[in-house]
Symmetry: C2
C-alpha cells in the first residue's frame, strides 16, 4: 500500500493512519504528506499530543466517559449530581449531548447496545453499574438517550424494565429534526412525529 | 469544538487532528475516540511512528522527494540513473507514478506549478536544479508528468522551453482513463482523446 515511498518510517505511518475510521489508504497518504510538509508545526505537536493521551486517557470508573483520571470531570463535578442520569450508548453520544449544553446531570455510558447477534448482554454494557448508581447517587430520573434503532430501543426497554417503579424513566422525544424537510424524512420518523403531535 | 469533552489532552488532540486534510471536527472526534479505545494497540504505535517521521523525514536534496536521508532511496539507487527524469508537481504525484511501477528512471519534484496569481516563479519550483541535473546526470529524456490543468500545462511549456533542444522532452498521453465511461468524461478529455486517436 505505502510501498511506493520506499521509506520504512513513512510507510509505517501511512499504514497506521489508514486504519483510522473514515480514512483509507488514499486519504492517509494525503494526511501523512501534509504532516511531513508541516513536520515542525503540526507533526511534532501531534505526536506529542498522542503520546500524552496514550499515557493518560482512561475510562471513568463511575460512568464510562473518557478522561484523564479515575473519575471524569463530570463525575468529579458535584454541581452535576442533580438526581438525573442520562444513559448513552457511546462516549461520542455523550460528547454530542454535552455540545448541546442542555443536560445538567450526569451520564452513564453503556459502551454499546444489547445485541443477541453480537453476543452482547447486560454485563458487557455496565447495566449492573447503572442500577447501583441509581441507588447510591439518589437518582430521581433516568433519561434514556439511545439510538433510535432496533438494538437501541431493545436496550432502552430492557433498562426501563430493570429500573422498575422507584425512579422516573424518560427518553428523548422522536420527531422531525430541526431544519428537517418532510420530503427527505423516512416514514418511521413521520409516523412517530404524527403520533406525538401537540397543540400548536 | 472539542470543548464537550472537558479534558484538555483529548481536546488538544482532536483540534490537531481536525487540521489534517480530509478530516473535519466530526471525523477528528471519531478518529480520536477510536484511538482512545484502542490506545494500547493503535494510539501508542501511531504516536511513536509520528515521532520517528518528525525526527527523520526530510526532502531529498537532489529531487525533492521525501525520505529519511539527504538523498532519497530513488536517487541513491544507481540502477535508476537510466537517463530519464520524470518531472512531477508534488510528492503525491511521484508516489502515484511509483505505484504504477512502470517508470524506471529518476524523478524531479517541482513542489507546485508556476502561478502568477500565487506569485510562484521558476525559483520556487526547483526548475534551476532540474536544468543542472539534466547536464550533471547526462539525461536524455525528460518526461513531463504534470497535472492536465492550466497551471500544470503552463509549467510544462515553460520547462520545455528552458530545456531547449539538447534533450528529448515528452509528456504523459491524454485520453480516456482506463475503465472510464464516455458519458462521464468532460468535453476537454473527449476532444484530446479524439485528436490523439490511433489505429485500432
Amino acid at each position: 500500500m505505502g510501498a511506493a515511498t520506499d521509506t520504512g518510517a513513512i510507510d509505517a505511518l501511512i499504514d497506521l493512519m489508514a486504519r483510522l475510521p473514515g480514512l483509507g489508504p488514499r486519504s492517509a497518504r494525503r494526511a501523512v504528506l501534509h504532516l511531513v510538509k508541516h513536520r515542525g508545526r503540526q507533526l511534532a505537536p501531534l505526536a506529542e499530543a498522542m503520546r500524552t493521551v496514550a499515557d493518560t486517557a482512561r475510562e471513568c470508573l463511575n460512568c464510562g466517559n473518557i478522561g484523564t483520571a479515575d473519575l471524569c470531570p463530570i463525575c468529579q463535578n458535584n454541581a452535576r449530581a442533580n438526581g438525573q442520569i442520562c444513559v448513552v450508548g457511546d462516549v461520542a453520544d455523550l460528547w454530542a449531548m454535552e455540545r448541546s449544553g442542555v443536560f445538567k446531570g450526569r451520564y452513564h455510558v453503556l459502551g454499546g447496545t444489547l445485541s443477541a447477534l453480537d453476543d452482547i448482554g447486560p454485563e458487557e454494557l455496565r447495566i449492573p453499574k447503572l442500577l447501583d448508581r441509581v441507588v447510591s447517587e439518589h437518582v430521581s430520573e433516568v433519561v434514556l438517550a439511545l439510538n433510535a434503532t432496533v438494538d437501541g430501543q431493545t436496550t432502552a426497554f430492557y433498562i426501563a424494565e430493570q429500573l422498575g417503579e422507584g425512579v422516573e424513566v424518560t427518553s428523548l422525544a422522536q420527531g422531525v429534526p430541526i431544519g428537517g424537510e418532510l420530503d427527505y424524512l423516512d416514514d418511521g420518523t413521520i409516523t412517530a412525529a404524527l403520533k406525538a403531535r401537540r397543540k400548536f
